[in-house]
Structure formats: C-alpha cells, structure tokens
C-alpha cells in the first residue's frame, strides 16, 4: 500500500494532464458564469444608473423593497407564471399525443415525425414574425381571421387585445415547441417493454387502459424531465413578446425577463434590474431543485 502514497510516474502524468484538461473549461465557466452571477447579486445592492457610473451608491436592500412594492414587477411575475402554468401542460400533452401517433413503425412514419418536428427547424424569431402576420386582426390581411370569417365567426383581435394576447403567444409557443418534447417522449416510449402490451392485450385490456396502466407509468421519469425543461424554458419567455407585442397591450405580455431588459438596458436602471434578475434566478433555481426533489422522492 506504500504505492498509493507515492505517485508513480504515470499517475503523476495523468494528474497533470487532468488539470490541463479541465483548466480551460473551468476558467471560462468561472469568468463568464460564476463571476457575472456574483455580480448580479452584488450590484442589486447598489443604486447604479448606467448613464452615471460615477454616482454608484450602496443602498443595501432598498432595490428589493422597491421591487416588492413595484406594480410592474408583480404584473411581470403574474404574466410569467400565467404563461408557464398554461404552456407547460398544453405543450407536454401535445408532445405526448404526437409521440403516441408516431411511436409505432409504419409506412411513412418518418414523414409524419418530420412534419411534427418541422416548427423546430425555424427559430423563435421566425415563428414570432410569421405568427404576427397570421394573427393579424384584419381578416383581409390575417390568415387565421380570414379563416374564422369564412367559417362565419367573428374575427379575433389576437395580439392587439389584452385578453387574448398572452393566450395567442401560448398557443403558438406550444405548437413550435411540441416537436422537441415529442422526440424525448419517443425515446421514452422505446424503453417500455413490448411484452407488457402483449400481455395486457391477451387479458383483454383496451387501448385506453393500456395507455393508463402501462404507457403512463412507464413514462414517469420522462414526463418529469420534460415538464422540468419546458417549465424552465417557459420562465425565460422574452423573444415572443418582444417581437409580437412589445409587452403590450396594457402590459399583458410583459414578462420577468422582459422587465429585466426594460429596466436594465432601456432605462439604464442597472442596480434595480440586477435585483429583478436575482429574484428571477432564485425562482428558476428553486423550481428546478423542487422538481429534482420530486423526481428523486418518487423514483
């Protein structure tokens, strides 16, 4: 056992190589993730106007006090939660439904898979611009309203009405994102042993019962993972409202990240924006920890 105390030449080589191998990544992670994270918290304790870097002043928790009495912050938080609470179940259920449609091998299955996945081949910017046009309130220039009118329905003001704007973004986002989660579900479905279905079919279980008692339990882990990534992604909502509604009408699509952007980059209230970012960070991390806990506890 004396050998372990004294490193052999090869072991030493390995150790030096190991440090050389991890150093670039670790240095970059610290410089561009850890340091900015610390600074987000640090600057949130300051009154820091971007136009007046000389007038920076430590104010303790004042930014947070201001934040909790800021009506716009609560609106942004409410909108973000509303979006997340609706888009996560809709998008995940849609993704699961699509995965079930194309999980078996049949002639043309890859064509259908590609069809459901295709919105993922365009960026969110492209989708947001395209749907701004599709959602146009005028039935002569907006495709969806033109369709509604020809079906004898009233046109809907989708993005220009505070009551429908966020729902319109939710619908579009679920459509765009579902193909991604579908692929994850497809992999999960492959993991369920086929003989379980065969045994159930012999016992006379209907397709619906098979879904309820074999498919869903078999996908438990996958469902939790998909819900978690969709939820975290949903909390970051920015591109869609920025391009489609600029946070309007009547602030109905202003989200937390949008508010960080407005305060920090448009108004230059840097310290204040950092306090919003810090709160945003705590929410996202708490959510993902909670999800991990739930996953670990029930597995």
């Amino acid at each position: 056992m004396a050998k372990t105390k004294k490193l052999t030449g090869r072991k030493r080589d390995e150790r030096i190589t190991a440090y050389m191998f991890v150093a670039p990544a670790v240095i970059l992670l610290i410089a561009f993730l850890v340091v900015p994270m610390i600074y987000t918290v640090y600057f949130s304790g300051f009154k820091y106007q971007i136009m007046r870097p000389d007038a920076i002043k430590f104010i303790g928790l004042e930014n947070y006090q201001k934040l909790f009495s800021d009506k716009n912050f609560w609106i942004a938080l409410k909108n973000t939660v509303y979006f997340t609470v609706l888009v996560v179940p809709i998008q995940c259920a849609l993704a699961l439904g699509l995965a079930l449609l194309v999980s078996k091998k049949f002639r043309g299955v890859s064509i259908f898979r590609t069809m459901y996945f295709s919105p993922q081949l365009t960026s969110m910017v492209v989708i947001a611009v395209l749907w701004s046009v599709l959602y146009n309130a005028n039935p002569n220039t907006g495709l969806i309203n033109s369709l509604l009118v020809s079906l004898g329905m009233e046109p809907i003001k989708f993005l220009s009405d505070a009551d429908t704007a966020m729902n319109s973004i939710i619908f579009m986002s679920a459509w765009q994102g579902a193909g991604y989660q579908m692929m994850i579900f497809l992999a999960g479905l492959q993991g369920i042993p086929k003989d379980q279905y065969e045994a159930a079919a012999v016992d006379g279980a209907t397709k619906f019962k098979q879904f309820l008692y074999i498919t869903l339990p078999g996908l438990k882990g996958t469902i939790k993972y998909v819900v978690m990534i969709t939820m975290i992604q949903a909390m970051k909502l920015f591109t869609q409202p920025y391009i489609m509604t600029q946070g309007g009408p009547k602030n109905s699509t202003k989200t937390l990240v949008y508010y960080i952007y407005t305060q920090g980059f448009q108004k230059g209230n840097f310290g204040y924006a950092c306090s919003i970012a810090a709160v945003f960070f705590v929410i996202v991390v708490t959510l993902s920890m909670a999800m991990k806990k739930v996953t670990a506890a029930t597995d």
Partner: protein, 282 residues
C-alpha cells in the same frame, strides 16, 4: 368474429393514418403558407387569403427573394453568423470534450467539486446574468465585436456533461493498452479516444449549432452595429423596417431557415439522438 376483428383492425389502421394526415397538415400549414407566400406577389397573397389558394404558390417567382437580398446584406449576415458559430463550435468541442474526458477517466483532487460546479451551473439561466456579463464585455472593450459573441459561450456545462457520459463508457482496457504502448495520457485522448467518439462530437456539434443559430437575445444585446448583425437580428429588424412587405418578410424567413434545414437533412440522426438522450440521462 375473426372477420369483424380484421375489419376493426383495418378500420383502426385507416383512422390512424387519417388522424396523422389531418393533424400533420394542420401542423405544417403555417410553414407551407410561409413558403407559398414567399413566392407570390404581395397583392396575390391578400387576394388569395380567403380560399385554399392561399397555400399554393400561384404566380410564383423569386422576386421577393431578390427584394430581400437587395435590402439586406445577406452575404454579410450569413458570414457574421457562420463565423461566430464556427468559432464557438471549434473551441466548444475541444475545451468541453477535454474537460469531460478528465472528469470521466482521470483521478485528481477537486474532481468532485468540478463535477458539482458543472451540474449546478447547468440550471443557471443566461437571463439572470446578462446584465453583469454585458458590463464585463464593455469593460473588455468587446461590445460590438466578435469575442463578445464567442468567448463567453465556449464552455458549456451541458456539453461537458454529454462528453463525460460518453467517455465513461469508453473501456478502460483500451486506455491501459495505449499507456502500456507508451502513449501519454493526452496522446491517448487525442489519438485513440477522439477518433472513436465521432458520435458524441456530432451530437454536441448539432445541438450547439442549432442553439446558436436560433439565439436572439444575446446577439441583440451586444451586436448593435448594422454590419455586425446575425441572422436572427437581421430577420427581426427587417420585420420592422419600412416598407413592410409581407411577401418579402416571408422570403426573409425562408432564407433564414434554409441552413437549419440543410443541417437537419445531413445530421438528423445525431440531432434527434441528442435530444432524445438528454431525456434518458437527465
């Protein structure tokens, strides 16, 4: 009994196809409309709006594409985008695979701590740190320059994690054998492990290519110069620039999607596997 079962099986199969076709068509119809509108004169787009002809490229021409290329400096935009993504990917694949390999195959002090750091930082949202990161860029004098788009995004926790998972499965005997043959630890990695690990490199490559091709927020914050624009910035600004022609906007959207579609055709297997494996392992 068997006859009716056969019939119901056939009927079920028919309904299955029928359902897939209907849902599939509804699903892709916005994209078909986008492509068809990109080929039509604007007046024709509006004229066809209330009939199914709206999905067909009637009076097709490439005029809208010509308008996009004359109003947007597309070669420059593509060059900006591909250059920055290319640089990120070269360093991304190198730096993160080295780190992942060390975490998978070497014993050293601090290994556990680094592994924890990587996992903890995986949930850190970019949006929470963008303000100080921007200040960091401006202090380095990088705002509106290539390094601001590239350097902060080389190290990626998720890539490190993917590489580590893959390298853990490389048999130790292979590495031992190379060592006995006199290969140094670094030499073993570059000459023996990397060549047999093409799958994981291809997977990380395509996942990160897509992520950066689609990225809007960070380029939007740090690249304000018109000649510095990436593809998403060009598309977004084109949408708001007068004269607003639906026809040309649709053409711009299609142009910006073409590289992604090409990537998908060639790397579909790795892309889909990458998405799927994240679910199994996460």
């Amino acid at each position: 009994m068997t006859k009716s079962m056969k019939f119901s099986a056939k009927f079920g199969k028919f309904m299955f196809y029928f359902g897939n076709i209907v849902i599939g068509i509804i699903f892709v119809s916005p994209l078909i409309w986008m492509i068809s509108a990109s080929l039509k004169p604007e007046a024709k787009i509006f004229a066809d709006m209330d009939s199914l002809a709206t999905f067909l490229p009637i009076q097709a021409s490439l005029d809208n594409y010509a308008e996009v290329f004359s109003r947007l400096n597309m070669p420059q935009v593509f060059k900006n985008t591909l250059l920055y993504i290319g640089l990120i990917l070269i360093f991304d694949l190198l730096v993160n695979s080295m780190c992942g390999y060390a975490l998978a195959k070497f014993d050293f002090k601090g290994k556990g701590a680094i592994m924890n750091l990587v996992i903890a930082l995986m949930v850190l949202p970019m949006e929470a740190i963008m303000l100080p990161l921007y200040i960091e860029m401006s202090q380095l004098g990088w705002v509106n320059t290539l390094p601001a788009l590239v350097v902060p995004f080389i190290a990626k926790c998720f890539s490190i994690y993917m590489f580590r998972q893959f390298f853990c499965d490389v048999p130790d005997e292979l590495i031992e054998a190379a060592a006995i043959d006199g290969s140094s630890p670094a030499g073993t990695f570059f000459k023996i492990v990397v060549p047999i690990s093409k799958t994981v490199y291809a997977t990380v490559f395509i996942l990160d290519f897509v992520a950066h091709w689609n990225d809007f927020m960070w380029p939007f914050l740090v690249m304000t110069g018109e000649d510095k624009r990436t593809i998403q910035l060009a598309v977004q600004s084109f949408f708001g620039t007068q004269p607003v022609h639906y026809s040309a906007i649709m053409a711009a959207l299609v142009v910006s999607a073409i590289p992604m579609i090409i990537m998908f055709i060639f790397m579909q297997k790795y892309y889909v596997e990458g998405i799927a494996s994240s679910g199994i392992k996460g």
